[in-house]
């Protein structure tokens, strides 16, 4: 416990902001999805760090992180399937060109 809790939280905040930048700035939809994965990882670091430092006796934090992992896997599968379907019909996954819903 020589490492302060805030170091882990700062690392997680940094990962979250890097992923946030990736989601907002990338032109390619798969690259934006990679940013989302980084953000989910940052959330999991936070959950595990709080579990270890605030309440290590019961495993709630770790179990919550396992559920986040399951949801992230579902999200990646559906997201990539959407991108393959969009690529097949539109021949692009540049998010600037996928504006069919724009009024």
């Amino acid at each position: 416990m020589t490492i302060p809790l805030s170091w882990y939280l700062l690392l997680a905040a940094g990962l979250f902001c890097i992923g946030f930048f990736g989601v907002l700035s990338r032109r390619n939809a798969v690259a934006a999805l990679m940013g989302v994965e980084l953000m989910l990882n940052a959330v999991n670091i936070n959950l595990v760090a709080f579990w270890r430092y605030v309440r290590p006796v019961d495993l709630t934090g770790q179990i919550f992180a396992i559920f986040v992992l399951a949801v992230a896997a579902a999200e990646a599968a559906v997201g990539l399937a959407l991108m393959i379907a969009i690529y097949r019909t539109r021949r692009t996954i540049n998010v600037d060109h996928i504006d069919l819903l724009k009024g």
């Binding site: 940094g14 992923g19 700035s25 798969v30 760090a49 430092y53 290590p56 992230a72 579902a74 399937a81």
Partner: protein, 164 residues
Amino acid sequence: MPIVFLILALFTVVMAIGTVTARNLFHAALFLIGAFFGVATIYVLLEAEFLAVSQIIIYIGAIATLIVFAIMLSRSMMGREAGGYNRFWLAAAVGAAALWSLLAWVLTTVSFPVVNQPVPADAIFQIGTGLVGPYVIPFEVASILLVVALIGAVMIARERHRQR
């Protein structure tokens, strides 16, 4: 111990920055695998070994493989300009930096109720009994969600042969 943490954190952050800056999408995917691995080592430092192994199996073994497959299935994404930025990239960078500064200020000023207790020796046993005991409903809901999401993914990505 702090030096180990600093090395691993630096590795993770460098890999994450590589993920969002690499021009080649395939390189970005490889950087993403490095970032996932760095996060797994952080879990080991936090004494969450089960989660570290799950991280490597699920993220590196499954999600990263899916991303690499999606990149290879749409060939134009392998091109040179595929990893470019849109016109909001500067605003996004400033926003992300501002968000991190705000979070850093909050996280360093707030004091959390930290306790100095060891991790229970049978942590993995407790996770196992927890998932079929008090957390059985969320566990089943998560499995239904996974099945529905995977069937939906197959339906969305399926080639349609209906021709008029």
